[in-house]
Symmetry: C2
Subunit: 292 residues, 2 copies
């Protein structure tokens, strides 16, 4: 485990990371928060050895530094600490979009510390330290995003760090990461939100008739709007392209529904649903072992 | 509880209903299945007093008859039994689309038995007697769909029947039912299936990067294709209209994503996500008590 871990931002992910390290018998954990009340909350919960609003003090002696703030807050925070981190420190982040983060942070830390991006796919629609759990990362997938020039030893180091808190680690470049999570995370979020808003505007009484299917299909729409506004803004090109591809296919489905019922129509619909079921059934999600 | 319940079709819903009645100390349960192997399976599981391929024998003495077959099989089965059910028998069904079922079955049973449509919103993406559970209906919503001329006593009777197996009952006309489940059940199913198919065709590697959000948002796509082809075909007008409304709103979201990032764009996106979150957070689903 890590000798000294510094976590910047005590939200759901930062707080859970602190708790995971303490509960797994890791080394020292220091947490930075912008507000004194957040520092007090970290202290009250006893999930860190040091909690402070002084970010330079928090990172000064750290072997691993993890940015767990909103993406937009990372560059200025990085500029604030860059002269104070140890040159041997591993520096990473937990942002859901990687290319913009890596583009900003990698040059700042070049030659000054070992930066590489991470995206732990853990969490839920809940937020804040109150929702943090020591086992949040157990079995979750973390994607690490080395660039072309990232030394293999640094990638191995960040992989070992996330494996140390129970994650399964995958590896892909920052741009490719953003395209892929655009499909399986950002687009589904927009879809769920737009579905709810469309029902609300069209037939709000229908909400009285929803069952477990609707509940699951829309759970992600309960996520924090400000965080998702930032994610969708940062990854807008990939999400826009994915959304347009989806709209095109939905239009084809609409045409199919509008055609008169006959055997060919039913055969096409059945094929569409069978392909989707086959793919969904083949999904094996390591972070949900009970998933059939 | 019901003195004698006849269930036509021992699938997930029919089987669970038989088990629920037996486990709650209900009266006699008879089950009809088309195939001898299905009859044998019902006997092996001991969830009925009588299991037979002879539908006339199964319904002859029943106080309540429940159609739990695919919708398409109901009219011919109804014609087969209509002269054999007791005139005092309550006859209902579990079909997910109500107007076409009521349109076919209500005239057949008029003056011969007490027909009224039902739609228990229970079940999952699993199917068949093997997935049946005695507690499937506990806390689930069942929608009963009286027509304008349905006697109030009959509606009360079917409500009491579903409440007897643990359901919360709601009541609405068949056409209105179909519009509303078009929004909260059929449209989300099509969306989940089309999302999966679009990702498969565009960037299948992205499936390697999906987390619990994608899993939940697409779970319903694992449902049985033949059943869903039938549902979507029967309710195609409502689903088509709902889908076109959704596509229109998705196009507006696409335009928003394509516009240059600025404060107004972020404010609109944040508003969209905040409205969706507010509505999703307000959903209280009686069949999932742990749902926050």
């Amino acid at each position: 485990m890590t000798p000294h871990l510094a976590i910047l931002g005590p939200g759901l992910l930062g707080g859970s990371l602190a708790m995971a390290c303490k509960s797994r018998g890791g080394g020292r954990v220091s947490v930075w928060a912008r507000r004194e009340e957040a520092v007090a909350e970290v202290r009250d919960r006893g999930c860190a050895d040091v909690a402070s609003t002084d970010v330079r003090k928090v990172v000064a002696d750290a072997d691993v530094v993890v940015f767990a703030t909103p993406i937009g807050a990372m560059p200025s925070l990085a500029r604030e600490i860059v002269e104070y981190v140890k040159p041997t420190a591993l520096v990473t982040d937990v942002g859901s979009v990687k290319a913009p983060v890596v583009r900003e942070l990698a040059p700042l830390f070049a030659g000054r510390a070992e930066f590489i991006g991470s995206h732990p796919m853990a969490g839920s629609e809940q937020t804040g330290l109150g929702a943090a759990r020591a086992d949040l990362f157990e079995g979750a997938v973390t994607i690490v995003t080395p660039e072309a020039g990232t030394p293999a030893a640094r990638t191995a180091r960040v992989r070992a760090f996330w494996e140390g808190v129970g994650c399964t680690v995958r590896q892909v470049g920052p741009e490719e990461h953003d395209l892929m999570v655009g499909w399986v995370s950002h687009l589904p979020h927009l879809l769920a939100a737009t579905l709810i808003n469309t029902v609300e505007a069209s037939d709000p009484e229908a909400f009285e008739f929803c069952g477990p299917g609707f509940r699951d299909a829309t759970r992600i729409a309960s996520g924090p709007p400000s965080m998702w506004t930032e994610i969708l803004g940062e990854n807008r090109l990939a999400v826009h392209q994915a959304l347009d591809g989806l709209i095109e296919n939905l239009r084809a489905v609409s045409t199919l529904l509008a055609s008169a019922p006959n055997e060919e129509r039913d055969a096409l619909m059945n094929q569409l649903l069978t392909e989707a079921k086959g793919r969904r059934d083949r999904l094996r999600l390591p972070n949900v072992l009970s998933d059939a």
